[in-house]
Symmetry: C2
Subunit: 139 residues, 2 copies
DNA sequence: TTTGATTAGTTAGGCTTCGCCTAACATATA
DNA sequence: TATATGTTAGGCGAAGCCTAACTAATCAAA
C-alpha cells in the first residue's frame, strides 16, 4: 500500500472513531445503551412509514399481529413509542414515535450531525469548502 | 444549520454509505451475513489477544469455561477458528483464527481499506494530500 | 517412580430471555 | 350479523448463559 493511502487510512480511522463516539452518545443520552439492532430496525421502519397501524406494521415486517403488540408494548415501556387512536375508526391505533424513539430511529443521522459539529469547530470555512469539493467526487 | 454544514453532511453521508457497502461485502464474501454483533466481538477479542487459551478467553470475557467451549465449537463449525494444541502442555489449546475469522475480526479495517481503494480511483494525488492535511486537524 | 493433587478443557443437563407463532377473544364498524 | 382491528393466553425453539461432574495431562512429593 502506498504511503498516501496509509495516511488516508489513518485520518479516516480517526474520523470514524469520532463518529462512533457520537453514535454511542446518542444511545446513552436516551438511556438505552442495550437496545438491539433489530429494535432499532423496527423504529426506523415506523419512522419511515409515518402513519403505521398494528396491522400495517405486521404486513410490512411480515410478523403476526400479536408479535407486533408485543414489540410495541416493549417500546411503550422504553418510552420510544405511543398508541394514537384513530378518531374516525376506534379499532385502529397509529404507532407514533416519541422524541426519544425518533432520536434512535435517526441515530445515524444524529451521530453524523454531531460529527459535523465537531468538524466545524476544528476546521475553518475554506477547509470545509475544500473538503466538500473533493469528497463530492467520490462515487 | 448553515449551508456549508449541510453540504458537509451530504458528502459524508455518501462516504459512509460507500463504507457501509464495503462492510457488507466483507461479511457476505465470508458467507456469514447473519453473524451476530456479539460473535464479531468475540472474534475481535481473540484477534487482539493473540495467544488465547480457553481459560484465558473465559477470564477475559467473564464467562464460564463451558460457555467458551460452546462458543468456540460454534466458531469451528463456521470455520472462523481452530484449536491448536500447545506442544509443551497437552492440556492447553490455543484458539487460532482462520483467515475467514481474521477477516471478520478485522472487518471494519477491511471495509475502510476497500473504501480507501475506491477513493484512490476517484481522486488524484493532490486531492488525497489535501484531504489528509485537512482531516488531520480533526480531534 | 508412583501416586495424589491440580489444572485445562469437555459433557450433560438445566435455566432464562428473546422473538416468534396460533387460537380464542373483546371491541368497533358496516 | 358479519367483518376488521388489536389483545390475551399459551406454547415453541434458539440463543446464551450457568453448575456439577467428568477425562486427560501435568506436577510434586514420598
Amino acid at each position: 500500500m502506498t504511503d498516501r493511502k496509509e495516511h488516508l487510512y489513518v485520518v479516516f480511522e480517526n474520523l470514524l472513531k469520532i463518529k462512533n463516539g457520537c453514535s454511542c452518545e446518542v444511545f446513552s443520552e436516551c438511556g438505552l445503551s442495550d437496545i438491539t439492532v433489530k429494535q432499532v430496525g423496527y423504529l426506523k421502519t415506523i419512522d419511515e412509514h409515518g402513519e403505521v397501524t398494528f396491522s400495517g406494521l405486521a404486513k410490512i415486517t411480515r410478523n403476526s399481529k400479536p408479535t407486533i403488540t408485543e414489540i410495541i408494548n416493549k417500546f411503550v415501556r422504553m418510552e420510544c413509542v405511543y398508541r394514537d387512536r384513530c378518531p374516525d375508526d376506534g379499532r385502529i391505533y397509529y404507532i407514533r414515535l416519541t422524541e426519544k424513539g425518533q432520536m434512535i430511529a435517526r441515530s445515524e443521522k444524529h451521530a453524523l450531525l454531531k460529527m459535523i459539529e465537531k468538524m466545524a469547530h476544528s476546521l475553518d470555512e475554506d477547509e470545509m469548502d475544500t473538503l466538500i469539493q473533493i469528497l463530492s467526487k467520490m462515487k
